[in-house]
């Protein structure tokens, strides 16, 4: 089973990377862009998706500063 983990900076924590992208887009002529955040994507083959949340808590994400979302594909 293929699992996909989306990791994002926690809401309310300053995300200068997202801000830099947000400032760059209007410079290219893209208007109306707001709330840009840059995160991380981890994809992995697992026997069971049940173990993925614990992997996130212990290694893939730092729950103090990041939120994660586990999606399963196929």
């Amino acid at each position: 089973m293929r699992a996909r983990v989306l990791i994002r900076p926690k809401e309310g924590i300053l995300d200068p990377q997202g801000q830099a992208v947000e400032r760059a887009l209007p410079a290219l002529g893209f208007e109306g862009v707001a709330n840009v955040h840059v995160g991380r994507l981890v994809e992995l083959d697992v026997e069971s998706a049940d173990q993925v949340p614990e992997m996130c808590e212990r290694l893939l994400a730092n729950p103090l500063i990041e939120d994660y979302e586990v999606l399963t594909v196929e």
């Binding site: 290694l59 730092n62 103090l64």
Partner: protein, 224 residues
């Protein structure tokens, strides 16, 4: 007394840390894959890019065999100092509160800053004075100290803020200007600035000696 300085794949400041320690006692390198702390009295987790900073800074190093031994050493009250990447590793390992985030300016910063000693009642600062300004270099991209507001309040009240950047010297947007913190028991300290690079007037400042001298003196006192 004997210091142990850890070497991870990707460490780059362990030799400077070793030389700084040798000014105040014996010192030797501890290999990351080795659980044996070789009977050292204090552990330094040095700066660098352990395990390539993969995933998140410090994230992988926390699971190395030597860090399991360091966690046990710290739980038993042993003094542990984390510098820069070492600070990030100790936060990831849960031995220190909070986390380090990318600098607000997103740039690598390498400069001399003034760091104020806020708590001189730790094994790493008791040879310093409260309010003393230490001139020490910082060099990092991920040094913005973060902890949730309620945790910051507990830390401020409980003396867990050990170092603060002097006014107008906060290089990275750290919360409350925090440059270094300690565990509730105060035997684990971490800071982003590099005291091991400031131990000889030849390189501009010898103020960093204060931390290593404190460690040596407090260990000798404990042994006496």
């Amino acid at each position: 007394m004997k210091f142990g300085v850890i070497r991870f794949p990707g460490s780059c400041d362990e030799v400077d840390a070793l030389l700084a320690c040798e000014r105040h006692g014996e010192a030797e390198i501890l290999w990351h894959g080795d659980r044996d702390l070789k009977g050292v009295d204090a552990v330094v987790v040095p700066g660098g890019f352990s395990y390539g900073d993969y995933l998140r800074v410090g994230a992988i190093a926390q699971f190395s065999p030597v860090m399991e031994a360091v966690a046990e050493f710290a739980r038993d009250g042993g003094p542990v100092l984390g510098i820069c990447n070492g600070f990030q590793v100790l936060c990831e390992a849960g031995l220190l509160p909070g986390a380090l985030l990318p600098n607000t300016e997103l740039r690598f910063i390498c400069r001399q800053v003034d760091v104020e000693v806020v708590n001189a009642d730790t094994p790493f600062t008791d040879a310093c004075e409260v309010g003393q300004a230490l001139s020490i270099p910082v060099k990092h991209t991920t040094g913005r100290y973060y902890a949730p507001d309620d945790q910051l309040a507990i830390m401020e009240a409980g003396g867990q803020v050990v170092f603060r950047y002097a006014e107008d010297h906060n290089p990275n947007g750290s919360a409350n200007g925090i440059a270094g913190v300690c565990s509730p028991e105060r035997n684990v300290v971490g800071l982003m600035p590099h005291p091991e690079h400031a131990v000889d007037p030849l390189t501009g400042s010898a103020d960093g000696n204060c931390l290593f001298a404190s460690m040596a003196a407090s260990t000798d006192r404990a042994a006496a």
